[in-house]
């Protein structure tokens, strides 16, 4: 019975669309991108089919950014990777050799089609009067941040706080270090990832401030309603660029290079950028950005390049024995 039915289906397919090939792409991405790609994939599939007369199906895999990169290194056959820090794609270049070096030059904006930034999320009415980074180190303010050791989101927060203190008039690295130490003294819980931190803050009602990506704030609004929190934009924050790359080794093996490259390129199209803006990711396209200007307050930004790039920042601050570890030990009174 099943055989007969499938034979019939095959026959029908042959009759109906003689020239349609079917490409399947696997996009290995990180946690919070789930909602964006859910919206983007059908838009892209429609465009691709219209342009190339080929059907394209996109499968998604989500998890913590570095964990996902490790899966690719260990052999998960991703056609494209979409991560929250270039370090994760560089690791695939170095350790797995599945992505060719120079990937960040193949697409505009260092291969990052949109960006986000760290914002402060406070309880309704802002009872602790949090306006900027310096309000976070006051005694009695509890801050929820994901663990910088296990989460890109947490690493961005750490660098944002560091940059704020270093760039103040009279600021320097020593002052920045003291500031970040004071900030982590006010952190009661270190969740392993951004989503877990959101749960701690919103569901368990722990802490006065949650520091996370701007687009996560929108997710919180959709999930928990807009009545329970406010978003505070600090005076200065870090530009979290969210890079994408084609996994050369896999697409060459599977013969999916064209589709994979189109998939990423289309992220920069007005359509792709609009879907991004609808998901509260800051678009690169000036036209789209103008259209959504109300949604994205202007904030002074610095980038990870100010820390000498991700590789250097990771080594100095986040690797074992780095500055963050020393700060953590100091906070624990060791």
């Amino acid at each position: 019975m099943i055989k007969r039915a499938s034979a019939l289906l095959v026959a029908l397919a042959l009759v109906a669309q003689p020239a349609l090939a079917d490409v399947t792409l696997l996009n290995v991405s990180y946690d919070v991108m789930r909602d964006f790609y859910k919206d983007y994939n059908p838009v892209f599939a429609k465009y691709y089919e219209a342009k190339f007369k080929d059907k394209v199906t996109i499968q998604q895999s989500h998890g913590g950014s570095s964990k996902q990169a490790r899966s690719v290194i260990d052999g998960l056959e991703a056609d494209v990777v979409t991560m929250n820090q270039s370090l994760d794609i560089d690791a695939i270049v170095d350790k797995g050799k599945q992505v060719n070096a120079g990937w960040e030059k193949k697409l505009p904006n260092e291969a990052s089609p949109f960006s986000s930034l760290q914002v402060l999320i406070v309880r309704k009415g802002n009872p602790k009067a949090i306006r900027d980074w310096n309000d976070l180190v006051k005694p009695g303010v509890q801050i929820i941040v994901p663990n910088p050791k296990t989460s890109g989101n947490g690493r961005y927060t750490y660098l944002a706080a560091w940059g704020y203190a270093a760039k103040l008039p009279g600021g320097n690295d020593a002052k920045a270090r003291d500031f970040v130490t004071a900030l982590f003294k006010n952190v009661p819980v270190l969740d392993s990832g951004g989503r877990a931190a959101t749960t701690t803050f919103m569901q368990r009602q722990i802490g006065d401030v949650l520091i996370t990506f701007e687009n996560e704030a929108e997710m919180i609004a959709r999930e928990f309603g807009r009545g329970g929190f406010e978003v505070v934009y600090p005076s200065i924050s870090i530009d979290a660029d969210l890079p994408v790359a084609v996994v050369d080794k896999v697409v060459d093996k599977k013969g999916t290079r064209k589709a994979a490259e189109e998939y990423l390129k289309y992220l920069w199209s007005p359509e792709g950028q609009t879907v991004a803006a609808q998901n509260y990711l800051r678009p690169r396209d000036a036209g789209v950005a103008a259209k959504f200007a109300k949604q994205f307050p202007a904030v002074k930004l610095f980038t990870v390049a100010d820390f000498g790039g991700w590789a250097k920042a990771q080594k100095t601050h986040f690797d074992d024995g780095g500055i963050y570890d020393q700060i953590a030990a100091k906070v624990a009174g060791k």
């Binding site: 050791k149 368990r204 722990i206 570890d325």
Partner: protein, 277 residues
């Protein structure tokens, strides 16, 4: 002791060969791979990875909390098994099935449920918090999570032994003038001891490796409530595969040593009862 066993049924050679092959493929091979991978490290690097003060603090948390959880379940498990075996009561089947629930739940689900329950605004947390008892996001929370996850082990190892205990023994003891306490202490407990130890060992070993249920309730504060598996994860985040395997090897060695000791104890207590030839 002769190596060749003479029993009524043949097939010792075949079954032993099969046992060893199966164990090798399922257990020894992955563990060997782990040890071999860590052997790429120099001793200095290995030592630096496993003796870092922060990592050492996690050993204390992990092995300490596991020992406490396994001990709590040793007593609670014995009591549960006792009630389930010795007394008929309505809903017994249901209670019996409930015992296995922590087994069946995905650990992350258990962790999230417990964190929700014990958070300061949770059902239980709201009453404990004013008393100054903080469970969620403290080492106490880790003990709670591990106790929950390892509950079935002691119950399920003790239950069948308790069911098989002959009532005649207790009756004989009673007729010889033993008090109830003496019967329990001198007759029943020695019989249960090997099973209790097995249950304890299983619970402990499981607790040491537990990640999912703990991570949501621990709070993960450095030097206070970080567990060793989290250190492995954070090494992996830095693509430090070798450092991660080094810590994993330490956990493996410690767990194996402890299991070995407990197995020895069990062997000894069983022998004392003349169960083994």
């Amino acid at each position: 002791m002769a190596f060749k066993q003479h029993s009524v049924l043949p097939g010792f050679g075949l079954s032993l060969g099969y046992t060893l092959l199966y164990l090798s493929i399922i257990v020894l091979l992955p563990l060997t791979a782990l040890v071999v991978k860590s052997s790429d490290l120099t001793w200095t690097a290995f030592w630096a990875a496993v003796a870092d003060p922060r990592v050492v603090a996690t050993y204390k948390v992990t092995f300490g909390a596991s020992a406490i959880a396994a001990t709590l379940n040793l007593f609670a498990g014995l009591l549960l098994a006792w009630v389930l075996v010795r007394y008929p009561f309505p809903g017994k089947r249901l209670i019996d099935a409930l015992v296995d629930l922590p087994f069946a739940l995905p650990t992350a689900v258990a962790g999230i449920a417990l964190a929700t329950l014990y958070a300061p605004n949770g059902w239980l947390g709201q009453y404990l918090d004013p008393l100054g008892i903080k469970v969620a996001f403290t080492p106490l929370g880790i003990v709670v999570a591990l106790t929950f996850v390892t509950l079935p082990f002691v119950v399920r190892t003790v239950q069948p032994v308790l069911e098989d205990l002959e009532h005649e023994l207790e009756e004989a003891a009673a007729s010889l003038g033993a008090t109830r306490w003496q019967i329990f202490w001198k007759v029943i407990l020695p019989m249960l001891l090997p099973a209790l130890l097995t249950g304890f060992a299983l619970a402990f070993a499981r607790a040491v490796g537990e990640y999912g249920s703990v991570i949501f309730i621990a709070g993960n504060m450095p030097f206070v409530s970080e567990i060793t598996p989290l250190m492995i994860i954070s090494k992996l985040e830095q693509y430090d595969y070798l450092g991660a395997t080094a810590i994993a090897v330490v956990m493996l060695v410690v767990s194996f040593a402890l299991l070995f000791i407990i197995n020895g104890l069990q062997w000894w207590s069983a022998k004392r009862l003349g169960r083994r030839k």
